[in-house]
């Protein structure tokens, strides 16, 4: 456990000392969200209808951007090999990496959503559900994406290949995440969607670190 916290602290510390990487991801999210009204027109009812989908897809793409670099730096400077040789179970270390990715990428997106919801004229309730769905859903994106990041480690065309591998797996999260807000708008309540999202989080939290550790071993052999 000591190793897990150390790794998490280390990654967060490194990112805070070099904030450009985190900030670019966050600004990408903002830019994507701002582009949609420019594309579909400023009519408020349209925007309110599109908002959950647009913001969710934006969060997805922003997460993908940061996933590419999840293991890359450690692989290049040799720290990844040391992690494999440390005697600490690799699965635990992967949990720390995924947690760091979420804290540095997913969490800022969740915090930004109230601000961006204003651009789309979302009501307070809808904003709340959207933020909650992102809070539960973005860790799932981090978990699933980590497997893809490990598999594509060191490959040419890594970023696009990662997206190709991982986007189909993101579909359930997207459906239930954006669907939660739409269900609220349709008067059906978002409880069911959010529960399914929680279930997805538990499942991916349990299995992804192990799958990701296997993928890392395969990539480093």
């Amino acid at each position: 456990m000591n190793a897990l916290w150390s790794l998490l602290r280390r990654d967060v510390l490194l990112a805070l000392r070099r904030p450009s990487e985190v900030l670019t991801v966050v600004f990408f999210f903002v830019v994507v969200a701002a582009l949609f009204p420019l594309a579909v027109g400023p009519e408020r009812t349209t925007l309110r209808m599109l908002a959950p989908g647009v913001l969710w897809v934006g969060a997805l793409l922003a997460s993908l951007l940061a996933l590419n670099r999840l293991f890359e730096a450690d692989h290049r400077d040799g720290t990844l090999e040391q992690m494999l040789l440390s005697g600490t179970p690799l699965t635990l270390l992967v949990v720390a990496k995924i947690a760091a990715h979420w804290v540095l990428c997913g969490l800022p997106l969740v915090l930004l959503v109230p601000l961006l919801g204003v651009l789309f004229d979302l009501s307070g309730d809808a904003l709340g559900v959207l933020a909650l769905s992102l809070l539960i859903g973005t860790p799932v994106l981090s978990c699933l994406g980590a497997i893809g990041a490990a598999l594509t480690l060191g490959l040419r065309g890594g970023g696009v290949l990662l997206a190709l591998l991982v986007l189909p797996l993101f579909v359930p999260v997207l459906v239930f995440g954006a669907g939660a807000v739409e269900a609220l708008a349709a008067g059906l309540g978002s409880g069911a969607h959010l529960s399914v999202l929680m279930a997805l989080l538990l499942l991916s939290g349990l299995f992804s670190p192990w799958a990701c550790a296997q993928a890392l071993r395969i990539a480093l052999e």
Partner: protein, 251 residues
């Protein structure tokens, strides 16, 4: 029961020989079954009361969908064998299956569109099954892209195996979520799953086509695996001594 010498059959050299013997007759069988199935489907089976002649495309669409899903499961199965038993052949089989699976998924999508257009006026409806098929097609493309991008064949096999397994585990979840998504958005009220109630001949036609697809898949996989074996084992003695690898012999 005598113990089957798995390790013997799992050796590429043995498999090469076996596959070479079996794939031509299987290809012939596939052709025969396909002709029989299409004859039944397009000539013999009665015209559907509701959908007229256009429904006949299901004789291609349904077997293609089935095969695309079964092949993915087969890829995941061989993926498990590859990772657990570290069998080189399992990895090759998995990679040999992928293009055929992708082909069937693609065929299923196109025939689905061709069916939908005359029936419901749209080239594409976001029906739960078609959408899941589309995502399955993306999973195939992802597998093929990843295994082509990795140069080391062992790493490619094992990475592909993991992708296939993760994908197979996720396919039910994806299907369930797409179904949910489809029912929530009531716009897509048409459903391609409402196939016409089956007359006996129609079932026979589908069965023949499904068997044809199966035979074709096995023949293609055997053939493709032989190519992979030649490629990977090209430094070994037994490959150098094969009649087809002698200089001056046309492949």
């Amino acid at each position: 029961m005598r113990r089957i010498p798995w390790t013997h059959y799992a050796a590429p050299q043995t498999f090469y020989g076996l596959a070479g013997v079996w794939w031509p007759p299987l290809a012939g069988l596939a052709l025969a079954l396909a002709l029989a199935g299409m004859w039944v489907g397009f000539m013999v089976a009665p015209t559907d009361a509701q959908q007229g002649e256009g429904y006949r495309i299901i004789f291609v669409h349904v077997p293609a969908s089935w095969m695309s899903m079964i092949i993915y499961l087969a890829m995941a199965f061989w993926g498990v064998v590859c990772l657990v038993f570290r069998a080189r052949l399992a990895g090759m089989l998995s990679q040999a299956l992928a293009p055929t699976g992708a082909l069937f998924a693609f065929l299923s999508l196109w025939t689905g569109a061709l069916w939908g257009k005359p029936m419901w006026g749209a080239w594409w409806v976001w029906d739960a099954r078609l959408t899941s098929e589309l995502i399955l097609f993306f999973l195939y493309i992802g597998f093929i892209a990843l295994t082509s991008a990795i140069e080391d064949p062992r790493r490619a096999d094992r990475a592909g195996a993991l992708v296939a397994i993760v994908g197979a585990v996720n396919v039910p979840i994806i299907y369930f979520s797409v179904k949910w998504w489809n029912t929530l958005h009531q716009g897509a009220s048409v459903s391609l799953t409402r196939a016409p109630s089956m007359a006996q001949t129609m079932l026979w036609g589908m069965l023949l086509m499904a068997l044809a697809c199966w035979a074709y898949t096995v023949a293609m996989v055997l053939y493709r695996t032989r190519s992979l074996i030649l490629q990977r084992e090209r430094h070994t003695d037994w490959v150098a001594q094969l009649p087809e690898c002698q200089p001056g012999v046309r492949a």
